[in-house]
Symmetry: C2
Subunit: 242 residues, 2 copies
Amino acid sequence: MVGKSQIKFIKSLQQKKYRIQHGMFVVEGIKTVRELLDSNFEAHKVYAINNNLVSAEQVNVELVSEADLKRISNLKNPNKVLGVFKFPLVKPIEEQGWILALDDVRDPGNMGTIIRLCDWFGVRQLVCSENTVDCFNPKVLQATMGSITRVNIVYTDLLQFIKSSELSVYGTFMNGENVHVTKMPEKGILVMGNEANGISKEIADLVNHKITIPQFGGQKTESLNVATATAIFLNEIRRSEK
Amino acid sequence: MVGKSQIKFIKSLQQKKYRIQHGMFVVEGIKTVRELLDSNFEAHKVYAINNNLVSAEQVNVELVSEADLKRISNLKNPNKVLGVFKFPLVKPIEEQGWILALDDVRDPGNMGTIIRLCDWFGVRQLVCSENTVDCFNPKVLQATMGSITRVNIVYTDLLQFIKSSELSVYGTFMNGENVHVTKMPEKGILVMGNEANGISKEIADLVNHKITIPQFGGQKTESLNVATATAIFLNEIRRSEK
């Protein structure tokens, strides 16, 4: 039986301010919870409807009824396990390899997809402006599929970070150089901007290389979604290294 | 004042069976409605909260209150204009250029993003298996942003279509040839599969060239989302033509 105060606590973690206050977040689903348990993330508590779902040696597990799981879950159809985890230790940003920088990306689905892309393409460092959507937002976590354990995500003053970095800064613009012909170095910062407004003026001024994905379908399509554009740019970065 | 029967009719078009029965679908938002009005799509009726939003010469416009718009809308925050449009005439598939084939893609957001990608990369023909999500689903239309007017979308028996085609068939698999080194021809069929299960067995047997996006982040990431993978493959197809 999950008590009222526990339900209230877990539900509160759906909001960023309480996540920050407690330094904890919630993930749901067997697969993602297991991935987090197998990583460096530290579990606070796991709620499971069945003894065999999570190894009790790893963590403080409480068996709960399906009705109780529904009470603490954020999903319409809760998926057997819910885990409360502590925020990971954020490592300092290292100036090696490619760093992806997000300037005010707002959509949780895009953010989750971008984290998964970083993981696929071996981009270990994701630096986000402070107005970028919180990576521990439940919708972000649903889209990352455990990739969040393998990418170091830092929220900081992006303008100051870029100013103080010695790396070349690549930014995506509608009128930049065709990324198919741009020679990419082995390291750098790639900046992706806000869904509606792109890269902010202050940060655009710091971009050394403006690049673009060429369009083949006439001039009508407005732009690519930021997550699909990130997919193409990260693929191009890795392609150039070959 | 929008009458009860009109509300019922418009609301019914949120379901596929009524869309098929009436041969009509709903789009919302000024921008997308305008794009459809400026295309070959034929409007049945447009509901707008303001006279200046849509040129009345183009179409049968009914001015409605915000409260009425809320009654017929599928959105939490309706966006000034709602249009009911007739299904477009589906053109026969032409065996020229690249054809994208979707084998049981289920997620409306993915479908919408894929249509937008076809538009960007000039892929004019999208052939879908009959179990692929309906392109006139409201969530698909929300993600396409008007691109649907520039891509010919055909639902058919995909297996038969591929069997009867003379084009080379490229399919995406975890263990295929690295797409960075695959030489792409000027035309062909690219098959993308279901979110959970990939390309079905019967269609996989017809694939001439198995290709894959190389992974750089270790072996843990399971797979890329089908929309982001499509972004990368379409970019690679156009890249090879250069």
